[in-house]
Symmetry: none
Subunit: 146 residues, 2 copies
Amino acid sequence: MKRFWSNIALYGLSLGLLLVSLQFFRYKWIFVRNQTEWYAGAVALVFCIAGIWLGTHWKQQRFKTLPVESNPIQPPSKILEQLGITPREFEVLQLIAQGHSNQEIADQLYVSLNTIKTHISNLFSKLDADRRTQAIKKAKTLGLIP
Amino acid sequence: MKRFWSNIALYGLSLGLLLVSLQFFRYKWIFVRNQTEWYAGAVALVFCIAGIWLGTHWKQQRFKTLPVESNPIQPPSKILEQLGITPREFEVLQLIAQGHSNQEIADQLYVSLNTIKTHISNLFSKLDADRRTQAIKKAKTLGLIP
DNA sequence: ATGTAAATCACCCGAAAGGATGAGCCCAAA
DNA sequence: TTTGGGCTCATCCTTTCGGGTGATTTACAT
């Protein structure tokens, strides 16, 4: 966390310096025609570049702090309850993670393919996923499946 | 390549819209005191946000290799060699395991959707998998991915 | 120089997956 | 007894996946 706040401070300082220098240039160009346009253009340019810089570095920061994984191991049933995932849905989720197709899951659970589709659809909305691979990933990071 | 150019167009369009709206606000606030300061502030804010967005989305081409998140540890390259999985294929495999769609992978790696499909097809035959979820499962049990 | 492997891209086609919606059944709690 | 949640199944439709085949370019080694 130290690096995070020091970086924030650094960003703030840099932006402040930028503002000061912009003010300086503004008063220097006060007699130039179309001063406002030029001023706005300069501001736009500088802040666009600053934004890009911020964007890239901020992103790296995010990625670096991501793998920390301070995941207090919760009993899966609690997380399941929180997410509103029913036992049957969890069963299907596990079979998905094992690499089974919908038809295989349906055969294994002795229900129809449509039922499996419904379960999976509900699972996706509860896990906030669009694909089964995404659901697997999310369930894994949540500790629902190994 | 289609998506690349459409993204370019999208960026251009967005920036154009921003410029137009900025002009609009400028003429709306023309009677406000300190108009230049407010205008410059708005420009700075908007372009800073635009820059951040650009930085996070657009700049990914820098990382031809994957971001830190995906390969924190060096996987056993021996198994990869044994299975004949090429670096590029392994890269795709990791993105699959992260839950991305083929189109998303293509966008991230700056290649076409067809290329990703080919990689995945080869990957499946090398991993003896029929589905991407199965490939994930097998890669995981092989220790190729966490 | 020539063969080989990797990476790239394309097209076609069928199968699987996913979204939206409606509906019936069962059981337990209010 | 009504109500709601869980489970089941269906239909229609769109998108994504996956298989198959062939081609080009680059780089590297023979």
